[in-house]
């Protein structure tokens, strides 16, 4: 039977994230958005409270949470600031390949020292030549004795300029397409690793996104995750895990937009009454509420499916795709509810629209999600 109420344990985790988002993140959200500042002091606090390496088991120093609990936390954080949330959860994305593809020895060797202090890691898959077509990456890994030599460039990598560790996907043989991809753990300190500067972005401006170049970087073979051809599968299984929290992140943005719009509608008066009494505004709010609820429930369902041993490819794609579309719509309607004020940077709603947009693009663009959904769906009819 479905169970829709949270346990006291889950509530207390959500409360922690809510408090952190509202007291530590939200007050700095506008300033970081305006100046594109990377608020490292906030990320450090998130680490101190245990809000950072959510998916890493406690034996390695992480928080050891299931996907459902991760989603509860991510939604709350995104309510405070989506951009900061992207940077806070980037470690989950970057470390998941080690959890999925690493040997017990590698997990201990990489994760334990990493999680023992505040450090950032980046997941380096996307390349300038393409993101959606991950099988076509060009970064090369050439075998040289008991090591590999990495050569290539990654782009749009979250936290890249600040990370101390990268999980890098490279091909040992482009001819073999996705069967030739291998995953490596590469420290920032390795010779030949050079992160580029921060990109100027439309939204998520408190987050940092940049390129990383690998020029003759020697990586010991023992730092390869799984076998040579396992990289693509590790990347896809990683995204199967981390897609659902992006649905939660989008839900958090949508909830923030709905809350702002509803509160404003009660105060703003036109034609002698609060705009909340105009039916056009009521319909807007009702539609926004439906979208937020549906997004949350789809996200919860996807997380629940994966936590209960399901693969969750269909469910997580539906959740991520629906919630990110909902976030954009709800943020858009929130601006409309605010009228001209909504268009002004001094009010917090236009930021939500800019932040929502990214959730349709990263961790698998929604076009790709729809392709996946259709594929999974049609399989049942074939």
């Amino acid at each position: 039977m479905p169970e829709f109420s949270l346990t006291p344990d889950q509530e207390s985790l959500r409360d922690l994230a809510r408090k952190f988002a509202r007291t530590e993140m939200a007050p700095h959200a506008a300033e970081c958005d305006r100046t594109a500042r990377f608020p490292e002091e906030i990320y450090r606090k998130a680490y101190d409270l245990g809000l950072m390496n959510l998916n890493v088991p406690t034996e390695f120093g992480g928080s050891g949470l299931g996907l459902f609990e991760q989603c509860l936390i991510v939604e709350e954080l995104a309510y405070g600031c989506a951009g900061m949330t992207t940077s806070i959860i980037a470690n989950c994305l970057a470390l998941e390949p080690i959890l999925l593809g690493g040997s017990p020895e590698q997990r201990r060797r990489f994760l334990t020292p990493f999680c023992a202090s505040y450090q950032l890691a980046s997941f380096a898959l996307t390349e300038p030549s393409g993101g959606s077509d991950a099988g076509a990456i060009r970064t090369r890994a050439r075998r040289d004795g008991d090591a590999y030599v990495l050569e290539g460039e990654k782009c749009f990598i979250t936290n890249a300029p600040h990370a101390s560790l990268y999980t890098v996907f490279a091909t040992v043989d482009p001819e073999r397409k996705h069967k030739g991809i291998a995953a490596f753990v590469v420290p920032r300190s390795a010779k030949g690793v050079s992160p580029g500067k921060d990109e100027e972005k439309m939204g998520h401006r408190a987050s940092s996104t940049g390129t990383v170049r690998f020029e003759g970087v020697r990586v010991p073979a023992e730092d390869r995750l799984g076998e040579e051809g396992d990289g693509f599968s590790i990347a896809m299984r990683t995204l199967d895990q981390t897609r659902t929290p992006i649905g939660a992140l989008a839900t958090g943005i949508a909830q923030a937009a709905l809350d702002l719009a509803a509160a404003y509608s009660l105060k703003r008066e036109t034609f002698g009454k609060p705009i909340s009494e105009h039916q056009a505004i009521q319909i807007k709010l009702a539609n926004m509420a439906q979208a937020v609820h549906a997004a949350r429930l789809l996200t919860w369902h996807a997380a629940w499916t994966i936590d209960h041993g399901g693969k969750g490819t269909l469910e997580s794609s539906i959740a991520k795709c629906f919630a990110s579309d909902a976030a954009l719509d709800v943020a858009d309607e929130a601006i409309q509810t605010f009228g001209g004020y909504g268009y002004m940077k001094e009010y917090p709603v236009e930021k939500l629209l800019r932040d929502a947009k990214l959730t349709q693009i990263y961790e698998g663009a929604n076009e790709i999600q729809r392709t996946v959904i259709a594929r999974e769906l049609l399989r049942a009819y074939q």
Binding site: K267, R268, E269, E346
Partner: protein, 327 residues
């Protein structure tokens, strides 16, 4: 014989504090004046005792609280309880200061009474005391029925006026100090530093806020707003028109993109009442607006309005407040 009411006074700088006179005023309204007994403790108690005459209380007891020691609430609670028993009081009233609220808790246990603090309204009806008091930071008000044979009330300071009655002649007499628990002997008041002069309270937790808007016209005129605030011991706020113009720093701004305040009293001077300003102050308990434009939206949320030129009204108001409150 009807039961008696005991008013516990507080001595400040050798005089009976205003809050004690306010408490006396309530006592007289709830009880016949002749059934009200005043009490003060500590150094200067004997001299201050006579000041109960100002509010028409004739029977006043005092104690020096054990020579050389302070008259903190917990230390004198046993004495107050003993006096309440001796005069067969059924009600003890005290001003709800630090002293008064500490006393209420200790006395209620010692005298086996029921108690309420922060009281802003009180009446006696059908053998019980009914009190009203703000709760949840002033966001709600509760009324409670206190049906005890013994009741202790701590009144919210300045919620009641000092009564104006013809003074009586007062009969003061000493009352024997009752020793508190032995461990009190080692509790020592080392120093009392007087409150720093000037420097109004912080905007966010001030109980009174006076804010000025574009209507003050120039930075130097903002002094009018500040003087009014000083006369009330209030914090100073401003609309964004003022902070944007640089007349006052951004930390003064009240409103959507400034601070949200909910004081007991908010006085808006030369502020039109734009929604962005209103959301920062509508939850104030009492709002007063002073504006030359009778159609200014601020008057829709205000409780009291004065339509007029702030350059005339504000100085008159400051002078009147100084007159009634003393400099």
């Amino acid at each position: 014989m009807s039961r008696r009411t005991l008013v516990v006074g507080e001595v400040r700088q050798g005089h009976l504090a205003d809050v004690s006179l306010e408490a006396a005023g309530r006592a007289i309204e709830l009880t016949e004046p002749t059934a009200v007994v005043g009490f003060v403790a500590g150094s200067g108690a004997e001299a201050a005792a006579g000041e109960f005459a100002r509010v028409g209380i004739a029977d006043v007891r005092w104690t020096d609280a054990g020579s050389g020691s302070d008259a903190s609430a917990g230390r004198i609670a046993p004495t107050v309880a003993a006096l309440a028993r001796e005069i067969e009081a059924d009600l003890v009233i005290v001003g709800g200061t630090t002293f008064g609220r500490d006393l209420a808790g200790a006395l209620a246990i010692r005298w086996d009474a029921v108690s309420a603090t922060g009281v802003t309204d009180v009446r006696r009806e059908a053998g019980a005391i009914h009190v009203r008091r703000p709760v949840f930071g002033g966001r709600a008000t509760e009324t409670r029925r206190l049906a005890g044979p013994r009741v202790v009330l701590a009144l919210r300071p300045h919620a009641f006026a000092v009564p104006s009655v013809t003074p009586t002649t007062v009969r003061t007499s000493g009352f024997a100090f009752v020793e508190p628990a032995p461990s009190w002997r080692e509790a020592k008041l080392l120093a009392l530093e007087p409150a720093a002069a000037g420097g109004g309270p912080a905007l966010a937790d001030a109980s009174i806020v006076v804010s000025g808007g574009r209507g003050v016209r120039a930075p130097e005129n903002f002094r009018l707003v500040e003087e009014l605030a000083a006369s009330l011991g209030a914090a100073v706020g401003a609309s964004r028109a003022v902070t944007d113009a640089g007349w006052r720093p951004g930390t003064f701004q009240v409103g959507q993109t400034g601070k949200a305040v909910s004081p007991q009293l908010y006085i808006a001077v030369g502020i039109s009442g734009a929604i962005q300003h209103l959301v920062g102050m509508v939850s104030s308990r009492v709002i007063v607006a002073i504006n030359s434009d009778p159609s200014a939206p601020i008057f829709r949320v205000a409780d009291y309005g004065i339509v007029g030129d702030l350059f005339q009204i504000v100085p008159a108001l400051t002078a009147e407040i100084r007159r009634v409150r003393g400099p």
